[in-house]
């Protein structure tokens, strides 16, 4: 087969123009594979949260792009990320998604064992390798560790290649959204809690990332869910207390002006967030007792500053997003050009009232579950786009809204909340990290 994009830096760069992107970035399987080799190797990819592996020997098996990896607590104070294969025959070392391996990984095929840092501990009938030069083999090095791992306040990221910026340079100011989510705990600590939702999407992973800062869709695509909620609630008895579920659904139906004025902040390397001044999370009812706990922990002024942030979606390019005000993280796991697994993880604010976790897990099931009506609205338009892009009538996707010719060089700017500037920012980063190792 003739390769259209492999090794062709020029062809890849030509896919992203200032105000439009070529459909192949969503459709082409070769480009998807190049994304796995370059984009998902040269950038810092979210692996998991260290509260998922609290005890030495605890592991969590996941992926970085297409690569199966294991996050493991190797010492009380550190977490390692290892490629999930036995160096002998390639057998994946874990069966369950999470658990505890004790002191060693033990391969189920030939009982080779590995220490928690991945190094080879033992091989049955080891004499068979005497005088074979085994010490020089790949196998003798044990399980391969992911080259670069960084644990930022519990959030563990990995970078597969030596190319690409260091952790602080890559994320820069964008880390402030993780900071805000963690700071919302009176103890300054988060724990994964409340279960995970996993939703299969038959569309390209970037459609989900594009949608995170697409503020011209909620009042349209979610008219059916949020609009119906508003209509149903109109017939509630006068003076009835608005239920948490209505507080969660209804703001999706807010008018354009609400989204225009909320603002979008754009950072380097494809990161950015909606909801600079306010967001759909701004008007949730106060949780009794919570502010007093925050005041006691941080002092009144600082507590108000922390809770005054209402960032909506923060995009950590390329494929993860957090919602600080409701302690949710969504990870868009690329499976194929037209297949994505969306995982939605909830966090408990350690030391805060349970009602906050109750709201987090309610939001998660109302919005992110395979049974969610908001999720159904979104997936329908993604899948229609995936299908519609097959049309030869036009090969380009438009991302021109509120474009300004001087924007490419701007850093840490705040734009109109309905700008597609963050989508353009993501695609500039896409080109940068796709081509940097070609």
């Amino acid at each position: 087969m003739i390769s259209k994009y492999r090794g062709n830096r020029q062809a890849i760069s030509a896919l992203v123009r200032e105000t439009e992107v070529h459909r192949d970035v969503y459709l082409d399987q070769e480009l998807f594979e190049l994304e796995m080799e370059h984009l998902f190797a040269n950038t810092w990819i979210y692996v998991g949260h260290d509260s998922q592996v609290p005890k030495v020997g605890d592991y969590y098996a996941t992926t970085i792009g297409a690569q199966p990896v294991i996050m493991v607590r190797d010492t009380p104070d550190s977490v390692k990320v290892l490629y999930n294969r036995c160096p002998h025959k390639g057998t994946r070392l874990t069966g369950d998604t999470c658990g505890n391996v004790g002191r060693f990984f033990r391969c189920p095929y030939h009982a080779w064992t590995f220490r928690l840092d991945g190094s080879l501990a033992g091989i049955p009938l080891k004499g068979g390798y005497d005088n074979t030069g085994f010490a020089e083999s790949h196998s003798a090095r044990g399980m391969t560790a992911v080259r670069h791992v960084h644990n930022y306040r519990g959030f563990v990221f990995g970078k597969l290649s030596d190319v690409g910026p260091g952790f602080d340079e890559f994320f820069g100011e964008a880390l402030s959204s993780i900071d805000n989510m963690v700071d919302r705990s009176p103890a300054g600590k988060l724990e994964v809690a409340g279960g995970v939702l996993r939703y299969r999407h038959d569309c390209n992973w970037k459609m989900l990332v594009d949608n995170l800062t697409d503020t011209c869709h909620p009042m349209i695509a979610h008219q059916s869910s949020a609009g119906t909620t508003v209509d149903v609630w109109k017939s509630a008895p006068a003076g009835a207390k608005k239920p948490m579920a209505v507080e969660i659904y209804a703001p999706f139906a807010s008018p354009y002006e609400f989204f225009q004025t909320m603002g979008i902040r754009i950072w380097d390397n494809g990161h950015g967030h909606t909801g600079v001044s306010h967001s759909i999370h701004s008007d949730y009812s106060a949780v009794p007792g919570y502010f007093d706990q925050m005041k006691a922990a941080y002092g009144e002024e600082r507590a108000k500053a922390i809770l005054g942030e209402n960032r909506h979606n923060t995009v950590y390019f390329p494929n993860v997003t957090v919602k600080g005000p409701i302690q949710l993280l969504r990870l868009f796991k690329p499976v194929a050009a037209n297949k994505t697994l969306v995982e939605s993880w909830a966090f408990r604010l350690v030391g805060a009232p349970d009602m906050l976790l109750e709201r987090t897990v309610m939001y998660n099931r109302l919005v992110n579950a395979p049974t969610s009506i908001v999720g159904h609205d979104d997936l329908e338009v993604y899948e229609r786009a995936q299908a519609g892009l097959a049309s030869n009538g036009n090969e380009w996707v438009n991302i021109q809204r509120l474009y300004a010719a001087d924007e490419p060089g701007q850093r840490n700017v705040v734009t109109d909340g309905t700008s597609e500037g963050q989508m353009r920012n993501q695609f500039r980063a896409w080109t940068k990290f796709m081509t940097m190792s070609l």
Partner: protein, 161 residues
């Protein structure tokens, strides 16, 4: 119905409930629930807590009302074309009966098929109904749907198991 429902009446109720869903008689279906009734589809095997652990669904009558109104709404693009569903059930078994409290629990293994356009998906579930009588009529206090693969990565389920 006499003062207490017979086992057969409990069984007939559960079977009819599935038929209302298959025929998409959703107003009649919603009326089967008590005012404080819930539809619960856990996301974890053996899940005991619907509040601090998330679920695929944990919906009171208000949320079910929203869902039903949405399904027939003109702006509901994910129902264009519309989904259809089919329940294939074993005979419900009466697991608990408390005639004093008029509280009954049935257990019904089933296969559920949801289709839309060219796609059709099969789910397997154990469904537990907690029923009570209200003014002599059986009502659903809780319908719990345990999918065999509740924790798998699933595609959209748009109707009701």
């Amino acid at each position: 119905m006499g003062t207490v429902p017979t086992d057969q009446q409990l069984i007939d109720f559960v079977v009819r409930e599935a038929r209302l869903l298959d025929q998409q008689r959703l107003e009649d279906w919603l009326n089967l629930f008590t005012e404080d009734g819930h539809y619960w589809m856990p996301v974890e095997r053996g899940q005991t807590d619907p509040k601090l652990t998330t679920s695929l669904m944990y919906e009171d009558k208000l949320l079910l009302r929203i869902r039903i109104d949405r399904l027939k709404g003109k702006a509901t693009h994910s129902q264009s074309p519309k989904s259809r569903c089919h329940h294939m059930m074993q005979t419900p078994q009466v697991d608990e009966r408390d005639d004093g409290q008029q509280h009954y629990v049935t257990w019904t293994p089933m296969h559920y098929v949801e289709s839309r356009a060219d796609e059709q998906t099969l789910y397997a579930a154990w469904v537990t109904h907690h029923l009570i009588t209200v003014d002599g009529a059986l009502k659903i206090r809780l319908k719990r749907v345990d999918l065999i693969n509740c924790d798998a990565a699933l595609g959209s389920i748009q109707l009701f198991v």
